[in-house]
Symmetry: D2
Amino acid sequence: MAKKKVAVIGATGVAGQQFLASLAGHPQFEVVALAASERSAGKLYKDAITDAHGAFRWYCQESLSPEFAKIKVEDAAKLDATKVDLIFTAVESDAAKDLEPRYAQTTPVVSTASAFRYEKDVPIFIPGVNQNHDQLIAVQRKNRGWKGFVTPVPNCTTTGLAMSLKPLHDSFGVMQVIMTSMQACSGAGRSPGVIALDITDNVVPYIPKEEEKVEKETQKILGTIVNGEVAPAPFPVSATCTRVPVLEAHTEAVFVSLAKHATVEDAKKVMREFAKDFTALKLPSCPPRLIEVTDDPFRPQPRLDRDREGGMVTSVGRIRVDHALPNGIKYVLVSHNTKMGAAKGGMLVAEYLIHQGHI
Amino acid sequence: MAKKKVAVIGATGVAGQQFLASLAGHPQFEVVALAASERSAGKLYKDAITDAHGAFRWYCQESLSPEFAKIKVEDAAKLDATKVDLIFTAVESDAAKDLEPRYAQTTPVVSTASAFRYEKDVPIFIPGVNQNHDQLIAVQRKNRGWKGFVTPVPNCTTTGLAMSLKPLHDSFGVMQVIMTSMQACSGAGRSPGVIALDITDNVVPYIPKEEEKVEKETQKILGTIVNGEVAPAPFPVSATCTRVPVLEAHTEAVFVSLAKHATVEDAKKVMREFAKDFTALKLPSCPPRLIEVTDDPFRPQPRLDRDREGGMVTSVGRIRVDHALPNGIKYVLVSHNTKMGAAKGGMLVAEYLIHQGHI
Amino acid sequence: MAKKKVAVIGATGVAGQQFLASLAGHPQFEVVALAASERSAGKLYKDAITDAHGAFRWYCQESLSPEFAKIKVEDAAKLDATKVDLIFTAVESDAAKDLEPRYAQTTPVVSTASAFRYEKDVPIFIPGVNQNHDQLIAVQRKNRGWKGFVTPVPNCTTTGLAMSLKPLHDSFGVMQVIMTSMQACSGAGRSPGVIALDITDNVVPYIPKEEEKVEKETQKILGTIVNGEVAPAPFPVSATCTRVPVLEAHTEAVFVSLAKHATVEDAKKVMREFAKDFTALKLPSCPPRLIEVTDDPFRPQPRLDRDREGGMVTSVGRIRVDHALPNGIKYVLVSHNTKMGAAKGGMLVAEYLIHQGHI
Amino acid sequence: MAKKKVAVIGATGVAGQQFLASLAGHPQFEVVALAASERSAGKLYKDAITDAHGAFRWYCQESLSPEFAKIKVEDAAKLDATKVDLIFTAVESDAAKDLEPRYAQTTPVVSTASAFRYEKDVPIFIPGVNQNHDQLIAVQRKNRGWKGFVTPVPNCTTTGLAMSLKPLHDSFGVMQVIMTSMQACSGAGRSPGVIALDITDNVVPYIPKEEEKVEKETQKILGTIVNGEVAPAPFPVSATCTRVPVLEAHTEAVFVSLAKHATVEDAKKVMREFAKDFTALKLPSCPPRLIEVTDDPFRPQPRLDRDREGGMVTSVGRIRVDHALPNGIKYVLVSHNTKMGAAKGGMLVAEYLIHQGHI
């Protein structure tokens, strides 16, 4: 199969760089265009990310692929979307609101922005969890008269939560969810991001808009499609989202009330056996299992577990009975916010959409 | 009133040092004895805390009082308890099990150890919250044939939780409590404590025995005295206790279900008006109010709020409605684990016991 | 003596806030004007530092004085300098280049900016070290036709270095200086400052322009006045300036070659006896001694020693022989970059200038 | 060629684990014995590193090889050294003093301990830097009547310094060296290691015995063999060694006086071209070049550069002229203290000794 031609929008930013890191050597995608703001347009990519002091502002662990380094950056506002088969966008929500519908007129868009997440005809995809929401793509195209479409990935804090709840919901029925997150600094990006003076030796107990996103997105992702739109899952989700001095990966302490009694072993079992059909597709970015359950009481830990399976697995541990909620189960999860929770998660979405023939 | 003669046991350790810092210049107490393990016995205090490299192992922000520096350290196992009016103990639980009953035969003991916390005739005191549990002192003396008694302070993670729940419970009835803590490294002490390799850029999701303590102690502290023993508060408490890269002060995300509906303003009001009778006693270590409620959505933060009122106030913020629990309220608190949560909290207990004539 | 009327320029920024914290309750100064950029002009100070989320952006440990909170902020570009006796400026270098000469036409200016530091007729003051450089004030006034003048404090990294070298230079003659700094994040301010993603678990080995400043300023401060200008000290200074994950206080490892042999005890002695005449003036912001020498081999440490004497003392330890340099001595110092190294250092300058009748 | 049979001593500790991580899949070595203290003896390796809470105390990024997991741990004091061709030791200096001579009677020992580093007939090896010191092996065998020998790797702080000085010394002659290190917490191990309470938001300016080791070892490594022993390099080395809040990799700010003038470009060139003959041997653990020179002024940084080439390369940046020393050059280096500076460095030593026929 010929490789799909792709463009990355917001390519000079951190999230855009993570798309590039994920795309280097990818078996299905060929990067043919990089776009950013007008300021970077016209420069070679490597020059666009080199600053006035001569510092090379590439922020991924992986090296920049030499073939991307020499691509000339385009102005995102002027990109000809028809020359690619797929567009990955990694821009702020305001920019996304403007750019994504323009691209989607002709071309599929996989986005890390929140701009379209809460539209009725837009699925928030986590493949393995709600891939059947791809039904909305046809609805979206029809509603909007687009040849392409927009499929955003969830907020990075939602991903691990929705992932871990899904097998519990399928087997035992989730009734109530209470979650406290301890989120990594990378979630705030770099402009300006979290400054050291604010987070060193500290916890910041508030991340604007985060809790609302997590609560709403979890219900939407675990919801069902009824009459061409998502009926959100009926259980309430209550989150307290905090920032901690961690570079990468969000840690979440989850308390769940279930409709049916489940033992700790039951919960472990359904998590361990989760999504085998999906992982059996062996999509290029898919880990061998979506959830890794550990019995070590001191795990998962963000620094030690975030890079497991390339940052694509949700690590769950400390599964135990919760006595405060009816049929309560509690656990701790770690999910890589800038890998499965962002660009690499978007990559997996794109791979699944190809597999289903949407791209 | 003549000053009470006091001894500090475990004086060379961090918790013991914190007792000394609190006792320097205290209007009611005169330190007449310092005790530690046999190894330190016979040395001047300042020499006992100077190591082989010449480093001075005093760990408090406050300077060591010169008068304590020159006290000769005694062997805790051989201390003559009758020469003091009160003993502060800051030793490990195993040592406390052995030493505290011996001292209590003749002398009141205020302890930071957990050894006796779960005995039926032993109150876990937080003055302002459950001072009426002092009824147990007479029971304890009678049961055990002691002239003295043992009153432990709670686990440092319990203190802020019980403090913040008390006004809610009094006014609206607490039905369920779910709490995730983000605890400071100082809670683990220094022997060996939390090592930098384990906590830098990380969260450790498990602290052995901590959750059980918090759950049990909160119920006991908010319980009522029935027939000479504590009937624990009937509401369930479920905790997930984690360690974060913070030096001092525990942060807790609390979700509470109430028996009666309360608005956010109601909750703020009862917290702000809490324990005015108690603070009116103006005990030397008592802050002007026990709970400080903030409207700044980014507060409380452990580094910024821990030293408020000398580390004796519980800071509460982000009070808001929780939609997952019946009549749900959620909030974040910060409590100084080694001040109100340890030695200085013990100081306040002792001051109250003097006020009530128990010492 | 009537209090001097003062204005603080750049009052909403971190450095400006530190001036306010230092001015609260100051015996010699009365704050009559606060100025900032046009954006803040017209707002009450407390509103000018409250953000859109309702967060109160006051960054000092000390509380904001209620009397400052209600001052209406003025536009720095339009300030009437004649209404005050003294102006403290805490603005970026570019703004200082424009504003300070305008104010200095009528009014003395004590500045934390580097804009005028390298002018021939401008002293860089560290009282106790080079107060005799106040001779330049008359020169400056004459040269520029100003009634006022500009006296900048040094770069925060220079302060501790120049302070610790001065007694060595006076007694033994400094011949060569090699210094590696480990600087606090607060040195970079908050706009955007050092982001957590860059400094957590890391050292950044470069701070633009910092090394040049330290090298040049140290020579100027330890220089002599010849014919109405500073003849820089003739010894070379070589610095490597790095950023480390520390909130406040710069740590510097210094290696010095001396003209005359000095033992470790000699070096300790001259540092301990340094500037007694100056500290005897008992200026309000002056610590009891300018240099604190410790024999504890593990000290000084920035977190433990930065707040010693209100952040106004330079802590020096590990003084020992250096075998690589002729008559070599090496040591480690800690100096509080945002106290003695900034606003509070400026306060001390102003106090000395009043004492000398310059204001 | 048949694989060499090797034993790892101190296998349960962190340094021992790093040997195991390096040995997994190694083309030249077959692990046939793991030894530790008596306490671990008799247990399967995986059980020996599992603690009472069920936590798995394996500290390397790489997973534990399943084949090592099931080896039964032996008592190091009773190990039969004759059954292996080579022994890697990772034990404390005191234990090494006892164990290593016993093993060396029959078997070559590559050690991370300092016990034998300062003996006249013992080379401190950094292959590529002083491989010709292997002449001492014959001397050592003869002196001590051993069939085996002991070759220690240097202190982890010495490695990068000696490495970076070698090309300068060869081409221009080193006359004086001044170095300030900012060392990672992992250098102190885990028993108890550096505790978070001591290093968070801090710098500790003293590491007992470290400076002496660096000074002495650098001279020995860059020395020449004269009459069967090392004549240390004649230039003085002066170090200040500090600990900073970094997990892995030591950063060093180096100031060097050269015998002959060299430009910055000259220095870069000799570093870039260094040791090509050695890297051409393509030993399994050898990186493609020993020194990586960067022109980015903000590099090297420990977190970003430590894992370059598997942690085996010394990254050097900020090479510039130093005006305080005659023919002065200054630079910053980063070297991975627990990879090239410990077990993986020992691996490279062993590989070279095989290549030369010593094993």
